[in-house]
């Protein structure tokens, strides 16, 4: 049974492959509060610790992320027309030799010239002149009204030791997207990561366009482990509905837990050295309806059993599901059984929606399994 629109999953599978290939750890789109920035930072810290990155690299990446995120939170409150999505955008990638930290936000066209000249000034200076320029600005106190003195930019350039990459993409006569990317080179290349041979900033801009079309907020692709699940949850929590949508928030939280735990309990990981399982997690929102999607690899010989258990859940009505749930809950688990076998039933009961799923053949051993569930406040009442 193929419930997902074809276009949608070719997009997700494609995104999974691209993110894997280009080592995108995660992409965040949406409003960015200070609290959420902190969560993004702590997630990066955990992931860097897991990759046993040197402390100098960790510090640099952390500093540049912090500055980039602060730039966004400081400048994101500009008022745009209703039809312009003024969400911010944040991406972190780890490649063989470098980290790439890319941020994006809306700017007013009238400010572009000043921003452009600051950026090209910083890029025109070598290491020593940057240091000199930093001192100059510090003593002159050329502070902009938004509290940024351009010092942040200079510091980022100094810490990264690389030129700043940036781009403006006009939306209309008043506003543009501003993209900003910094590279942090890592002293010891890690061949476990792949390198890419494309213009990275252009590639990311194209990616954001596609994400925007799909109303996605958070895309996260990394090893699924319990630790990473906790980070995903805390990032999502800060980003769902208003404070009073407690019921909806809890449902979403529960569904994320079940979907993610399914990945690290049941996914098949070709790379046996990995601690977790590779997978992708996406959350999107449109008119109060949240769409939660996960994707992971499974062995071809498990596809039939997995589809039939999903079909069984989808065909059952809610009374039948309740009976099924109760039957399973009362049976003692078999030795070595990883999950309770209740996840899909629980997800359908909580979301009040069927589960869409799809398998895309990858090779003779593996398929890519996607599952998607929608939940909205409207359905709950």
């Amino acid at each position: 049974m193929n419930l997902l629109e074809n276009d949608n999953f070719s997009f997700i599978f494609d995104l999974y492959r691209q993110m894997n290939l280009y080592s995108l750890s995660y992409i965040y789109r949406g409003g960015l509060s200070i609290d959420l920035s902190n969560k993004i930072l702590s997630l990066a810290e955990t992931n860097m610790a897991n990759h046993s990155e040197s402390s100098a690299t960790k510090k640099k990446v952390y500093f540049i992320m912090l500055e980039s995120l602060q730039n966004i939170t400081r400048h994101q409150d500009i008022k745009t027309e209703e039809n312009i999505d003024n969400s911010s955008f944040f991406v972190i990638q780890r490649l063989v030799n470098d980290y790439y930290i890319t941020s994006g936000n809306i700017v007013e066209n009238k400010n572009i010239e000043a921003l452009n000249s600051k950026l090209s000034k910083v890029n025109s200076l070598d290491k020593d002149s940057l240091k000199q320029y930093y001192k100059e600005i510090l003593t002159q106190g050329e502070v902009s009204t938004k509290g940024g003195a351009g010092l942040g930019l200079i510091e980022m350039a100094r810490k990264s030791g690389n030129k700043l990459a940036y781009d403006f993409k006009e939306i209309n006569k008043d506003f543009s997207h501003f993209y900003f990317q910094i590279k942090v080179s890592v002293p010891d290349p890690d061949p476990a990561f792949q390198d890419i041979d494309v213009d990275r900033l252009t590639w990311i801009e194209g990616l954001e366009e596609r994400i925007l079309e799909k109303n996605l907020n958070l895309i996260y692709q990394v090893d699924f482990t319990q630790e990473n699940l906790i980070s995903i949850l805390s990032m999502t929590e800060g980003n769902i509905g208003s404070k009073d949508d407690l019921a909806l928030r809890k449902k979403i939280f529960n569904i994320i837990v079940e979907l993610s735990q399914n990945i690290y309990k049941h996914a098949d990981e070709p790379n046996k050295e990995k601690e977790g399982k590779s997978g992708i997690f996406l959350i999107g929102e449109k008119n109060g309806e949240y769409t939660l999607t996960t994707g992971n690899l499974i062995l071809n010989n498990k596809v039939a059993a997995l589809s039939s258990s999903l079909d069984r859940v989808n065909k059952a009505d809610f009374d039948e599901l309740e009976t099924l749930f109760n039957k399973i809950i009362m049976v003692d688990e078999k030795k070595g059984q990883k999950g309770a076998g209740l996840g899909f039933i629980d997800i359908k009961m909580k979301s009040r929606n069927s589960l869409s799923y799809h398998f895309s053949p990858v090779d003779k051993d593996y398929s890519f399994f996607e599952i998607q569930v929608k939940v909205s406040e409207k359905q709950l009442n």
């Binding site: 319990q226 906790i230 939280f253 529960n254 837990v257 809950i329 209740l342 909580k350």
Partner: protein, 123 residues
């Protein structure tokens, strides 16, 4: 009997089982990776307690979330309490936030499955 005290983490609940002060409580979030392993000492403690229980025991479940693998373990705990209630006074309170109908349904489900009176407490 020794007190069983487990501090909460971001994915496991706070547990306090203390027969001296008569506190039996499990609260906060519960979605451990290994639910069976996490609940094992709790189930053992309740089994032991059931040998020499207090005249009255008040068990409080104050969970914010729990995953499906924990739901099975909670069922086991409630089954032990049902057994205990045959010869002893046992009061089970299931706390839920008033907007959280899923938590309320879970409590009602356990009560029905075990034919055990569970007090639903709205918070």
């Amino acid at each position: 009997m020794e007190i069983l005290h487990i501090e909460a983490t971001s994915d496991t609940p706070k547990v306090r089982l203390d027969s001296i002060s008569g506190t039996f409580e499990i609260s906060q979030r519960c979605f451990p990776e290994d639910a069976v392993g996490f609940f094992l000492p709790i189930i053992e403690w309740i089994k032991n307690y059931s040998k020499t229980p207090n005249q009255q025991s008040n068990f409080n479940f104050k969970l914010e979330y729990f995953n499906t693998s924990s739901s099975k373990q909670l069922f086991k705990i409630l089954m032990l309490l049902e057994e205990l209630s045959r010869n002893n006074e046992v009061v089970i309170s299931w706390h839920y936030h008033k907007a959280d109908s899923d938590m309320l349904s879970s409590g009602e489900r356990y009560s029905k499955l075990l034919q055990l009176p569970i007090k639903m407490v709205e918070i």
